[in-house]
C-alpha cells in the first residue's frame, strides 16, 4: 500500500514542479500592427495571401510561399512551406520570417499557436466573403506598412465590381448551379464566396439556402431547382474542351433541366474562382461570360 501512496505523491510533486518551472503558458496576443516594425521577410501560408502580398508590391519581401501559390508566376519559384492545408513548420522557420500571414482555418490555427509560442509574429485573416477579403487586404496592408497601397487596391477592385454590376442591373438573374463535384453530386450553396461571385455577376444560385456550404444534392433537387445554367470549374491541368465534353455526357441523363436542354453547360478555368484574391473581377467576368454569352460575344 505504501508504494502506491509514494508513487502518487511523487507524481503530484513532479507535476507541481513542472508547473512552477514552466507555468501554464499564455499564447501571446497578436502584436498590434501599428507598433510592430515593418517586416522584411514575409511567409505566406495560402495562395490568395500570396497574391495579395504581391498586389501590395511586397513581392521582394516574400521569402516563402505554399506549394499551391501559383500566381503570380514569380511566386511559384519561391521556397515552399508545404501546402496550405498541410503546412511544414520547419520550412517556415528555415525562412527566418518576421511575419507569417495565415488564414483562419483549422488546418492553420494549430500552426499559428506553435509559431507564436516560439516567438514568431503571425497574422491571421479570415477570407470567407468578399467583404472579409477587403478587410483582410486592409489588415495585411496595416501589418506590412503598406496601408496606402492596400487602400488603393481595395478601392480599385470595388470600382471594377461596380462597373461590372451596373451593366447587369435590372436584368433577369439566371438560375445557376455551380457544380464542384459530379459523383456524388455536390454544389456550392448560398453561404459560399462562389455564391457572392455569382450574384455579382448577375446570377442567382438555383439551390435554396442550405446548412452545408457545399452540400451533396440529389437529382430530384436539381430538377426542382429549375436550373438555367450549369457551371463547373475545371480540374487543374485539364483540357477544357475535353472536360466540357465529359460534362455534357454526364448531364445528358437529365435532359429535362433547362440548362441541359439549352446546352448551357460551361466548364471554366478554375484559377480565378477557386479563391478570393485580387483577381476577383476576373472571376466575376468569367462567370458573367457564362451567364450572358451574347454580351461577351461567345
Amino acid at each position: 500500500m505504501r508504494r502506491w501512496v509514494l508513487l502518487l505523491a511523487a507524481m503530484m510533486a513532479w507535476n507541481i514542479a513542472g508547473y512552477a518551472l514552466w507555468r501554464a503558458p499564455r499564447v501571446d496576443a497578436v502584436v498590434p500592427p501599428a507598433e510592430a516594425p515593418r517586416p522584411e521577410r514575409i511567409v505566406s501560408m495560402a495562395p490568395n495571401l500570396t497574391e495579395i502580398l504581391y498586389a501590395l508590391g511586397l513581392g521582394e519581401n516574400v521569402v516563402a510561399v505554399t506549394s499551391d501559390s501559383d500566381y503570380p508566376p514569380q511566386a511559384a519559384g519561391k521556397p515552399s512551406v508545404g501546402s496550405f492545408w498541410l503546412p511544414d513548420i520547419e520550412a517556415v522557420i528555415a525562412g527566418r520570417p518576421d511575419l507569417i500571414v495565415t488564414l483562419e482555418i483549422p488546418q492553420q490555427t494549430n500552426l499559428v499557436v506553435r509559431l507564436r509560442r516560439m516567438g514568431y509574429r503571425c497574422l491571421g485573416v479570415s477570407i470567407w466573403t468578399v467583404d472579409e477579403f477587403f478587410r483582410a487586404v486592409e489588415t495585411i496592408g496595416q501589418a506590412t506598412g503598406q496601408p496606402v497601397q492596400a487602400q488603393s487596391l481595395v478601392s480599385g477592385i470595388r470600382q471594377d465590381i461596380r462597373r461590372l454590376t451596373e451593366t447587369r442591373a435590372g436584368k433577369d438573374q439566371p438560375r445557376v448551379l455551380w457544380v464542384v463535384q459530379r459523383e456524388p453530386l455536390r454544389v456550392a450553396g448560398r453561404n459560399t464566396f462562389i455564391n457572392e461571385l455569382i450574384e455579382l455577376a448577375g446570377g442567382q444560385n438555383a439551390i435554396g439556402p442550405t446548412l452545408h456550404k457545399y452540400p451533396p444534392i440529389g437529382a430530384e433537387q436539381v430538377i426542382g431547382a429549375n436550373v438555367e445554367v450549369i457551371v463547373e470549374p475545371a480540374m487543374t491541368g485539364g483540357d477544357l474542351v475535353e472536360q466540357r465534353r465529359q460534362a455534357l455526357a454526364y448531364w445528358s441523363h437529365l435532359p429535362r433541366i433547362p440548362a441541359v436542354a439549352n446546352g448551357r453547360i460551361y466548364v471554366i478555368d478554375p484559377d480565378a474562382v477557386s479563391r478570393l484574391s485580387p483577381r476577383l473581377c476576373q472571376g466575376i467576368e468569367s462567370i458573367a461570360a457564362c451567364l450572358w454569352p451574347a454580351d461577351s460575344g461567345g
Binding site: 513532479w14 522557420i93 527566418r96
Partner: protein
C-alpha cells in the same frame, strides 16, 4: 528465453532498451524536412529579431516532437500489454474498451460546441478527448460488471455496445455539423504529432511514467490473472481489485496519449505482441520493455511520417500500420513455435 526472470536480467534488458531509445531519439532529431547542422544549432538561439533557425528547429520543433512521440508510444504500448493481459487476448489494443469512440465523441463535442477555454495550455479538443476517453472506459466497466464480477467477455461486449452507440452519435453529429468542424475533428483524430510546450511534455511524461511504474508494481499478480481467472483466485489474488487497478491506470495513460496526439493505431497492439514473442509473457519484463520499445517504435514512425513525402506529412497512423504489419509477420514466422492460439 524461458528461464525465470531475475531482477538483474530485467535491469540489464531495460537499460539496454533505454540506451537504444536515446540513440534513436538523437538520430531522429537530425531528420526533418530541412537540413539542420548540429554545429550551427550549437551557436545558440540568436537574438529575438534574428533567431537562429537551426537552433529553433532542433530545439523547439524536433526535440519536443520526438519527446512527445516517445511519451505517446510508451503509454500506448504499456497500456496495450496490460489490456492484452487482463482481457486474456493477444489481439486486444488500448482502444478496445471504448477509448477510441469516447475520444472521438469528446473531440467532436468540443469542436461542435465551440467552447474555447483551454486547460493548462491544452486545447479544448484535447481536454474533451481525454475526458471522453476516460468516461467511456468507466461506462464500459460499469456496464460490463452487470454480467458478473470478473467476466472478461462481459467487458468486451460492453465495449462493443458502447463503441457502436457512440459511433452512431458521432455519425449524427458529423452529418449536421459544419464541414470545417468535421474536418477539424477528423484531422485531429487521425493522429498528429506536433511539438508541445515544455509544461505539457513534462506533466504528461510524468503521468505516463507514474502510470507505468504503477503497472509494474502489479505485474506479478497480472501474470497470474493472464493465466486464468479462477486459477488466480484460488492462488490468493484479488482478481477484481487487480483488474480494476490495471484497467484504471492503463485507461488513464491511454487517455493521456490520445489527448496528446489523437488516435494512433497499431502501436499498442503489435509492440507488446512482438516483445512477448521475443522475451516471453512475464509482465514484469513485458511491461517495461514494451513501453520503451513502444517509444522507439513511435519515434521512428513519426520520423518516417515527417520525411517520406516531404514537405507534406503523412499521418503517423499510416506509418505505424505500414511498418507494424510486415514486421510483425516476420517475427511471427521466426518464432512460430511460441505462438499459442486458444484451441
Amino acid at each position: 528465453m524461458n528461464s525465470l526472470l531475475s531482477p538483474r536480467m530485467l535491469l540489464t534488458r531495460t537499460i539496454a532498451a533505454v540506451v537504444l531509445l536515446v540513440a534513436v531519439m538523437v538520430l531522429c532529431s537530425l531528420v526533418g524536412t530541412q537540413t539542420v547542422s548540429l554545429r550551427a544549432a550549437l551557436a545558440g538561439p540568436g537574438s529575438p529579431t534574428a533567431p537562429n533557425p537551426d537552433y529553433e528547429i532542433l530545439l523547439h520543433v524536433r526535440i519536443p516532437r520526438i519527446l512527445l512521440a516517445a511519451i505517446v508510444g510508451a503509454a500506448l504500448a504499456g497500456a496495450g500489454a496490460v489490456f492484452q493481459a487482463v482481457l486474456r487476448n493477444p489481439l486486444a489494443d488500448p482502444y478496445i474498451l471504448g477509448v477510441s469512440s469516447g475520444a472521438g465523441l469528446g473531440a467532436m463535442l468540443a469542436v461542435v460546441s465551440g467552447v474555447n477555454w483551454t486547460l493548462w495550455g491544452r486545447s479544448p479538443i484535447a481536454v474533451f478527448a481525454f475526458l471522453g476517453a476516460l468516461g467511456t472506459v468507466w461506462l464500459v466497466w460499469t456496464i460490463g460488471r452487470i454480467t458478473g464480477k470478473f467476466h472478461v467477455t462481459g467487458l468486451l461486449l460492453a465495449g462493443v455496445v458502447v463503441n457502436a452507440c457512440f459511433s452512431a452519435i458521432i455519425m449524427f453529429l458529423t452529418s449536421v455539423a459544419r464541414s470545417q468542424d468535421v474536418y477539424a475533428t477528423v484531422f485531429w483524430l487521425m493522429g498528429n504529432m506536433a511539438e508541445e510546450d515544455p509544461f505539457v511534455l513534462w506533466a504528461s511524461g510524468g503521468c505516463v511514467a507514474a502510470g507505468l511504474v504503477g503497472l509494474f508494481f502489479i505485474s506479478a499478480p497480472l501474470n497470474v490473472i493472464s493465466f486464468g481467472q479462477t486459477d488466480a483466485q484460488s492462488m490468493g489474488i484479488h482478481v477484481e481489485r487487480v483488474q480494476f487497478i490495471t484497467l484504471a491506470i492503463s485507461s488513464f495513460i491511454t487517455a493521456v496519449a490520445v489527448s496528446l496526439s489523437g488516435l494512433i493505431g497499431f502501436a499498442g497492439l503489435i509492440v507488446p505482441h512482438a516483445v512477448r514473442l521475443v522475451f516471453g509473457p512475464d509482465h514484469r519484463q513485458l511491461l517495461p520493455l514494451s513501453s520503451v520499445m513502444g517509444a522507439v517504435f513511435l519515434v521512428v514512425a513519426d520520423t518516417i511520417a515527417r520525411r517520406v513525402v516531404a514537405p507534406a506529412q503523412l499521418p503517423v497512423g499510416v506509418i505505424t500500420a505500414m511498418i507494424g504489419g510486415p514486421f510483425f509477420l516476420i517475427l511471427l514466422m521466426r518464432y512460430n513455435r511460441r505462438v499459442y492460439w486458444l484451441s
